[in-house]
Subunit: 232 residues, 2 copies
């Protein structure tokens, strides 16, 4: 029976202590494991982007045969899902729960969210297409709890959460996209400036020229929070 490892977590099982293995090629790599596969997939994605992740290349980096991966994962899509969720873990706010400042807490979590994804730009283009992993759900739960504690009515909670989610997703995917290749960007800017008679107001608003993405995110988020829960 060629049963695959499924729902269960990786057992690890620490096969062999240090014995250098009797096989011809002196394998000094540690054995395969889900953790190692996912971690290496993240490395590879960071280095080569979404299109750079090939099962053979991933296996190479792991010092394994391509087909060995399939004992640990069902298919390539699963690798994407796992890599994505692994990057979205949240460690919580720094100070000792200043549970007063709900607004600061939300801003911190969302900025951290965005930062995590921008550290791994491929994640931005992956997230919208994938199911919600446990780390994503945890962030949503925290968001719900904080907003609810801040007095947002249950009837508005749903909308509030989605609005913030939408904002983060939109901001991050857009930013990550413009990040790829500075030359592309300058080319696009030049093209746009050439077309500035077609888009005069865009030109005037310096929409694509300013580079203060962090500031724009923060300010936009403030606007949105103002709308969701007007200060006093």
């Amino acid at each position: 029976m060629a049963a695959k490892r499924s729902g269960a977590e990786s057992k690890g099982s620490a096969r062999r202590g240090v014995s250098p293995r009797s096989g011809q090629p002196p394998r000094n790599e540690p054995p395969l494991s889900l953790e190692r596969i996912v971690a290496t997939a993240v490395e590879l994605l960071d280095a080569e982007g979404v299109d750079g992740l090939k099962m053979r290349r991933l296996a190479d980096r792991l010092g394994a045969g391509a087909m060995s991966l399939y004992w640990h994962v069902g298919n390539k899509e699963e690798v994407f899902d796992l890599a994505l969720d692994s990057v979205l873990e949240y460690r919580g706010p720094p100070e000792i729960d200043a549970s007063q400042d709900w607004r600061g807490e939300i801003v911190h979590m969302l900025e951290d969210w965005r930062a995590s994804m921008l550290r791994h730009p491929w994640s931005a283009s992956l997230l919208p297409r994938r199911a919600l992993g446990p780390n994503t759900l945890s962030r949503l739960e925290l968001l719900s709890k904080t907003l609810s504690g801040a007095g947002v009515a249950d009837a508005d909670l749903n909308v509030a959460i989605w609005s913030l989610w939408n904002f983060v997703i939109g901001a991050t995917t857009t930013r990550a996209n413009f990040d790829l290749s500075d030359d592309d960007r300058t080319a696009a800017q030049q093209r746009l400036t050439g077309l500035s008679q077609d888009y005069p107001t865009i030109e005037r608003s310096r929409l694509l020229l300013d580079n203060d993405w962090d500031g724009a995110f923060r300010k936009g988020l403030d606007f949105l929070l103002d709308g969701l829960a007007p200060r006093q």
Copy 2:
């Protein structure tokens, strides 16, 4: 010289009137053209999704050989870009420019934007990854002009536009993603309900259970606009 068609628009050139062509298979298809390729690509994407678009299949639908496409487009990516932008055309508000109601105008354009993308769910996962086409830029220009006319300060214009863009992109990609496959969704809901002790507030807010996406979009957009330009 195997020069490719480039920047120039498709000349059409109406070769042959009705002559049934002397070749063996009686080709009654009209000749290839960029328009026909893009239109058929949209059909195919609607029917089969992003992964369903293969150059061979597209050529089949067009009654052509796979390699014939490459006279009209540079590569598959270009097909994606063209299909995406073709779906994002905006025809403007219905009534005869009630240029008073800037807020209504913005809401109309953004709701139309979202609707266009949801009519072609593949576009939602494509847009964040692609350069801005002319139709997208037109919408941004309209947005800029309207906000500016509504009295939004030039200093805030940039942030306002990005915030609205982010909201639309996030809302649409998320919605389009959840749309694919009802069975997947019920399965996910069941999985979530099973995990409801881990995510109690999500459960309580009915985050993934309510289906009023349109209402949530509209309400969230209102909140955001409230924050961007407080009424009076």
